[in-house]
Symmetry: C2
Subunit: 233 residues, 2 copies
């Protein structure tokens, strides 16, 4: 029996449910499934090749993360977007990210510095390759996520890191929402570089200031270029 004949069903987690959760999450973040769109089991069953109950488990998990909206007895839908929600996510991110940056700068060791520098380096490499549409490049998305993750990774609180990760995902969905309408990306490379330098040189106040501006300007860009999408809901 050759292995190649067996189609691997679990690319990510060990269980199918965890795998589907991951794939659904990515698709919702990338707006492949539109905000507010009903998630019907027949459709999902065909698209993801899993049974009712397995899909249900995945949707329940994503509902707890705030990416899916569970309407009891009336199924699930992709979590809607709104100006209010964007403001809440942005404010919460600032509150938590600022705290975690401070703690990481306070506690970060050599490994932390290396992680910050190397993830930024990888990010810049990818940006040089295709500077026009970074959000459409899956590799850029991963590298961008990993750089910001590295910045706060030395904070010492798994609890706050988990909360931060959920908020990051919810914010990334808004970035995707506006990506198609944004004329050209602003100078993110420079911002990331400045944040890295402030962090490595242990200048906490500056790093905090740059991170807050980074988060808020991203949010402002969404309002500016995708504001019309936030009212329809």
């Amino acid at each position: 029996m050759s292995d190649s004949a067996i189609r691997p069903r679990k690319e990510f987690g060990k269980t199918i449910a965890a795998d589907i959760t991951h794939r659904l999450r990515e698709e919702i973040i990338a707006c492949g499934l539109a905000p507010g769109e009903p998630l019907r089991f027949d459709v999902l069953r065909e698209r993801f090749g899993a049974s009712f109950t397995t899909l249900r488990e995945a949707l329940t998990a994503l509902a707890a993360e705030g990416l899916v909206d569970a309407q009891e007895q009336r199924g699930f839908r992709v979590a809607p977007v709104s100006r209010q929600d964007l403001v809440e996510v942005t404010d919460a991110r600032v509150l938590i990210e600022v705290e975690l940056i401070r703690r990481s700068i306070e506690r970060g060791d050599d490994d932390w510095e290396i992680a910050v520098i190397s993830t930024l380096h990888r990010l810049k490499r990818i940006e040089q390759r295709d500077p026009e549409h970074p959000l459409r490049d899956p590799e850029w998305k991963i590298a961008h996520r990993q750089f910001h993750q590295a910045l706060v990774s030395a904070c010492g609180s798994a609890t706050l890191l988990a909360i931060r990760a959920e908020l990051f995902d919810r914010a990334e969905r808004y970035r995707h929402l506006s990506a198609n309408f944004r004329p050209r990306p602003r100078d993110k490379a420079g911002e990331h570089q400045a944040i890295m330098q402030a962090a490595i040189s242990r200048n906490a106040d500056l790093a905090v200031q740059l991170i807050e501006a980074h988060i808020r300007s991203t949010s402002d860009n969404v309002t500016k270029y995708a504001g019309h999408l936030l009212d329809a809901e």
Copy 2:
């Protein structure tokens, strides 16, 4: 056909899964299910009268809340407790609760004041009735939760309130853990009264200071009287 013959299966949510999620959550918080204890489906099936998949959905939701630990392919267990986790939960609570109190004091209207005053009044009534073992009284637990909820309810961020609620639950489990070893409750009534007065008089700095002390002293009490339970894990 008489209604009395039908046993109501859904006391809380509309779906059985939501109901089981709620009951399991309460039981884990009250330490009726011990930290680290394996959650085997056979046992849960008998205890809660639901099928594998329904239980699985409930456990998945609680895993996302941090009350259950999902070990892929090896089932679920009640989330373990540890000094580290207690410190993380406490710090995260302080960070968020402080922010929400400030916002509520800033934004709270008449209804907010009424909610704060009336929930405190109810709490004190219940305390007078049985001042010895408040945590064993389900009514006190509910009233206590509602008072603290009322304090932050005017903050304007459903996102942060949801995060706060999860952290509150995780902290309450630690309180239950130490309840059996604590000699006598400290003067919580006085602390709550002072917090209420600071909030209603819009003294944000004082309210923040009192809330932080309240949260940290609760946590310290757990370490003091249930520290031995935190090392075993």
